[in-house]
Subunit: 682 residues, 2 copies
């Protein structure tokens, strides 16, 4: 066959962007609903834009400073060419990541209004609108990360054995932006949520999304900047880092596969995009269909097609069926992760039921049980990860290719991320539906419309929880791939093979302990940042409620003031955890050197996966325990059990929407930072 | 010098037991107070004895079963002699550990009454009684672990190069008993506490230790079986395991030091006992003295003397000053750990102040802030551990002795544990003072006596928190020593040097991830066990309160029934976490083999230290935030802030008194289990 694989990558990448544009136009041409709805949607849009603008300004400054630092390191070790290449690819990665986030959110904050306007006429059509709005994010993010890596690969010379090492800066740029986007967005969304709830629901006794609450618009903005822009940046960097890491591993197989081993990750990803697009087109439920079923159907189509394409690409480029099995292992793992997440966060199963039961005896037992559930939920995912790694490694060894084992784990990661664009679309569906719910509620739509909307909103919550499970699973697999890339990088720099990280060595063990500790410290800082920002919002909301006319509905609250305070607070408070996440590993690596740094990275990753599972699933379980009680169980809304469950839900908020997702990014950031700054650790 | 070091060990060991007997007689001859007091004390004694009797019956059965299993493993690999030796030393270790616990507690449940009776006449004298009561535990435990190791060493042949490997069963026997003693006691004490508080304080609004509360005696029994017997078993196995591990490392230095390198750990420990005894005799405060200052003075005396003795023993037996510096590193680390614990758990410092502030906005913010503090508090201890390990290793290397680095870390552990007997005495002071407080309260003593008692009780709480910091620090250092012993053991078994644990290998990495996961799972099971047991007590207390005469004070509650239910519940619910803690590592080791098992052990230890710090310090901070509010701050007792702080305190209870201390034991159990079952992992 005489087809250049890179041409396929470019073709599919551009095609995916065209599809995204088609979806965007399809969403935008739809009914925008009543004047009331439009007014609220406009406030959300303005708030989101204002936040993004300021956030990316801060991030841009940090990016330039950091680019200078990285280039300085390489100049310092006497590699001016690498200094230039890495600096440029860092900035390019950061730029692409930011751009993908901005485009995705621009559509999401318009799709919410269209979804709200459509739901009263046709709930099935509304699902389609929300899904296609999400697909704009999903496709743009995956396509841009793919095209970005391909472009920079060509831009830096396309030497199959050298260029992959030069483009690591691209992955780090993406991680860098993702860290701050997720932290800032995560702090924003939960500070606004906690602030709105504590004064509105608890002190004033008004319902969620009540238009009299001054923080309600900030809360809706938060859904976009946290869940949508944040997770978008997270998965942008996942796919970028994984592409680059796999290409570096491909270099080791160059004698065997030639350039095919290096380009395989990009081609596999490209076909995953096609499979995802097919899946998205399948989501067109009837008005009477269960929306979750429609989304699942699309997912299974994407999954099945991905598997088929994967087989085709593997046989074509690598001509070895064992690597297909390795990819399949990753795909199956992603399914298992989703099922485990369901088990731990849905009210039909034992864990959430236990939390519901314990809410009856008050908030203390609710928290104790929720925490026990959160700790327990780490067991099955870790066993799944261990089994997948060992299995895909074994398949790689069975392939008979020298060094095939590690490449097997890399291919498992590609398998897991094959349906990434679909999952990401489903994920962005969440905040769009959530926002649409808020718009319906605030525009005082009739009860019957609200009920239809609630159903969609609930599906959005489920998809958000599931994709968090998917994101952490992919972070875990990608991390192992990136360790290997780091070790390859060090081998190249020192000229000696670096294949052993001996944790029985005192310094290496210390590095490992410090890596795990960073995870705990970072989580603490992220949670505290929410608390600090929420405090400011609480004060402002209380201040506004001092005017009695507000509660009586005679004047409008000053939404913009709350949005402004949240924006400033989130941006100020994202800096400390962000700096610690970057400076601490650099300091440890510079002092304890590269072998200890490898242990830092690996054990930090293990701790990060565990902690992220605790945060995500614990938060999700608390949330759903509360929702289950609100359905009328154990006394329903207003009962003591409900009050206890609200405490649990509030505790879980910064866990699942700030600390947890930020940890996903941190895990990959640690990997890319060590890749880029490796010369410092020698 | 022609003195046989072992003679010194036996002489000091026996001398320490004589001193313990002297203290016991000194405590027992004192005033037993009023009839009312004696009646309550008798109920506590009976409850404690009943629990211990049943608990040790269960443990005895498990011990015999496990001894058979271990011997079976060795028979299976064709080593009948080792099968016999290991089985015997396992049972002997288990027996000594149990015996030490029983003796210590027998005195503690009598010292409480004497302390309560003395406090009205002379608070200074009461401090002395409680400290000497605690010293019986402290001295017996350390002396018995020392004599036990020395005896079994002689009993199995005293071959300096062979015997140390045979006595590993002793350490595992001690760990085995410690795990169940700490788990059972920890579940007992917190289930009773939560049960008594949730119905008594929250539902009925009666004060703590009110004699009308049916669960109040169970609560007081819990202080003894959890804090006293549990921690006693914990530190018994710490010292035993550390002695054995250091002796095994000494084998590697045999060509250089001869038998001195192997016996040094025992001699150093013996002199630590003398230093501790001197410190205990120094605790004789005047009635106007601050009791905490008196305890600190004694500690500094023990610390200073230990350091001097350590210098003397090092120069005599090893004749190398660098090893003294290594020992000093461990001593200083123990001090640093105590200061860090104070910072995170006392109300004068930022962390507890933050929790107090956040209690004003309700239980959710109290929990969020407390959790953030708990996560943060891991940072300084881990940096301290890393620095101590690297420093003591460096001193070992500087000694010029071949393989001296690892021996340096072993000696740091000995330094840290030098004052162990004193710290343990101070620790047992806690439950004795706590119990005395309960006896004073329940016997309706005059207000003035209660105030004097409260002061003593508060000091007891502080010492309990500090010794938990000490226990986790020593577990961390001892663990590294035990890794090395495990690797030495494997080298001996395979006949190939095993010096590299390559965590970059997929299987080894998986082992590491599974080790960290076990910590999370085990914590979950321990916390859940408390919840399940507490539920039974809550039901019983509510049932008894249905008789209105109880609340009116017209009839006595049925204390024995609550004690009985708690006993049964704690024993039933300790089995699952205990079995998981033992079976899971064995299964992983048997499947993934010895190198992965080493990573399991090491990364499990790191995760264990982090989680134990979170649990201990988080719980301690919540507790003290509540106490600070109860002093009249933020509205004092009964305010909303107080209610929120009570929720935090209740959440912290199973963290700091069940899961945290059980994790200390688990860390060392993992090490001793791998040592003993090493043949299974090859």
């Amino acid at each position: 066959m005489e087809i250049d694989p890179m041409m396929i990558v470019f073709a599919i990448g551009i095609f995916s962007i065209i599809v995204a544009v088609y979806f965007a136009r399809d969403v935008l041409r739809r009914d925008k609903g009543s004047k009331d709805m439009q007014k609220i949607a406009k406030a959300i849009q303005e708030g989101s834009n204002a936040f993004l603008k300021r956030q990316y300004k801060t991030i841009a400054i940090l990016t330039v400073v950091f680019a200078a630092l990285i280039s300085g390191v390489y100049l310092f070790v006497g590699k001016p060419e690498t200094a230039f290449n890495t600096g440029v690819s860092f900035i390019f990665g950061a730029f692409c990541s930011a751009l993908a986030g901005i485009i995705g959110m621009t559509i999401a904050v318009r799709a919410n209004l269209r979804t709200a306007a459509t739901v009263s006429k046709s709930p099935g059509e509304a699902v389609k609108v929300a899904m296609r709005g999400g697909a704009v994010s999903g496709l743009i993010i995956v396509a841009m990360s793919l095209l970005g890596v391909a472009l920079i690969y060509y831009g830096l010379g396309a030497d199959p054995q050298q260029t992959p090492f030069m483009i690591v800066g691209y992955g780090f740029g993406a991680s860098f932006v993702a860290l701050f986007a997720q932290l800032g967005g995560g702090i924003y969304t939960k500070a606004a949520d906690v602030g709105a709830d504590l004064v509105g629901k608890v002190e004033k006794g008004i319902p969620e999304d009540d238009p009299r609450n001054p923080a309600v618009v900030a809360d809706l903005v938060g859904d976009n900047v946290g869940d949508c822009a944040g997770r978008g940046a997270d998965l942008f960097e996942s796919t970028a880092a994984e592409n680059i890491g796999a290409m570096i591993l491909g270099v080791a197989l160059f004698p065997y596969f030639g350039v095919n081993g290096i380009l395989f990750p990009l081609v596999a990803r490209a076909f995953g995009l096609i499979a995802s697009i097919a899946g998205i087109f399948m989501v067109r439920p009837k008005d009477t269909d269960d929306p979750m079923k429609a989304l699942n159907r699309g997912y299974y189509v994407a999954f099945g097609l991905s598997a088929a394409f994967f087989y085709f690409v593997t046989m074509w480029m690598l001509n070895n069926v064992w690597f297909f099995y390795a990819g399949l292992t990753g795909m199956v793992m992603s399914l298992v992760f989703i099922y485990i997440t369901q088990y731990y966060t849905e009210h039909k199963y034992r864990p959430v039921k236990m939390i519901v039961e314990s809410s009856v005896t008050g908030p203390a037992t609710n928290i104790i049980t929720g925490f026990a559930v959160a700790l327990e939920c780490t067991a099955l995912p870790i066993i799944t990860i261990a089994a997948s790694l060992i299995l895909s490694f074994t398949f790689g060894v069975l392939s008979g290719v020298p060094n095939g084992g590690l490449y097997g784990t890399a291919i498992a990661t590609m398998g897991m991320l094959a349906t990434c664009a679909y999952v990401l679309s489903m994920d962005t569906f969440g905040p769009i539906a959530d926002n649409a719910g808020g718009i319906v509620e605030m525009s005082k739509a009739p009860e019957e419309v609200r009920k239809k909307m609630d159903r969609l909103d609930a599906v959005g919550n489920t998809t958000k929880a599931l994709t968090k499970g998917y994101a952490i699973g992919s972070a875990a697999l990608a991390a192992f791939l990136l360790f290997s890339a780091y070790m390859g990088d060090i081998s190249m720099l020192t000229g000696k093979p670096f294949t052993v990280v001996n944790i029985a060595n005192v310094t290496v063990f210390s590095g490992a302990a410090l890596g795990a500790m960073l995870i705990f410290l970072f989580s603490s800082l992220a949670i505290n940042a929410v608390g600090k920002t929420a405090q400011k919002i609480i004060e402002e909301v209380r201040r506004q409620f001092q005017d009695k006319r507000l509660m009586a509905g005679k004047i409008d609250p000053d939404y913009a003031k709350c949005v402004d305070i949240t924006t400033k607070g989130a941006l100020r408070n994202m800096v400390l955890p962000g700096i610690v996440a970057i400076a601490f590993p650099v300091a440890v690596g510079a002092i304890l050197k590269y072998e200890a740094m490898a242990a830092f990275l690996m054990v930090g990753t293990i701790a990060g996966i565990l902690m992220a599972l605790v945060m995500n699933n614990g938060g999700g379980a608390w949330d759903n325990a509360k929702k289950y009680i609100e359905l009328g169980n154990k006394g329903g809304k207003g009962s003591d059990a409900h009050k206890a469950a609200v405490v649990g839900d509030t505790v879980g908020d910064p866990f699942k929407d700030t600390a947890g997702p930020s940890l996903h990014v941190l895990i990959k950031l640690l990997a890319t930072i060590t890749l880029v700054l490796a010369p410092l650790f020698i």
